[in-house]
Symmetry: C2
Subunit: 135 residues, 2 copies
């Protein structure tokens, strides 16, 4: 229903760096944090480029994007397995756990269907305080 795939574009130094960092961190980061980290490690990448690259990656489905309750965007390289899942995020330290819930997935579709909605999608985020922060 959505054959997005190519969207690769050129292989530039900055794109490589952004992607590399995303793979290393393997956690949610805002575009700004990402940009900051890149500069720290010496990579000369403009904030603009970070945004543009991220946008590209999200469009091609290589990166997941969410929003903080505060509204800022968070990016993470996780759909690498192209596998749909959700996140359990610590509201204190941000530690994230990937979770799945096939039953829940089915439930959302069933509900949407019962109300006559098609082409269903959903977003689910679970927030909590992780054991380390709770202490």
């Amino acid at each position: 229903m959505n054959g997005s795939r190519p969207a690769a574009g050129r292989t530039t130094r900055q794109r490589t760096e952004v992607i590399a960092l995303l793979q290393e961190v393997n956690d949610f980061l805002t575009a700004q944090q990402l940009h900051g980290l890149l500069r720290e490690r010496g990579a000369k990448v403009g904030l603009t480029t970070v945004y543009r690259t991220l946008q590209l990656l999200v469009d091609s489905g290589e990166v997941d994007a969410t929003r903080l309750p505060d509204g800022e965007q968070l990016f993470r390289q996780c759909s690498r397995s192209r596998h749909h899942h959700h996140h359990l995020v610590c509201r204190m330290c941000g530690r994230t756990v990937e979770i799945e819930g096939p039953a829940m997935e089915r439930w959302t579709e069933k509900v949407a269907d019962q109300h006559g909605y098609t082409d269903v999608a959903h977003t689910l985020e679970i927030f909590g305080t992780c054991s380390a922060c709770a202490r």
Copy 2:
């Protein structure tokens, strides 16, 4: 764990108008749309006040807030029954259906618990195309 309730504040003309409109519309609106509608119907309310009132209502739990995938905030007077629920939103026309899923609620808590997360909360939105828009 959270006995929020009072937070009423003063009863002013503008607050009354905002609340009245929210009750009438009973659907998700952005602060700006709300402001626009208020002006149309002659109510003289400043955008600033709309934002401040909405913030107040959200804090006191009288109003629900979400975000468009685009990032803007949406407000709706629905937790009136103080009952936790979610929404099934048409991505075309915005038509919204309130839904519940006790089993799903329990599931999120169980998952969070298994990972040692406490003080759990979650957000879930289901997007789809309603029957009217699908035609």
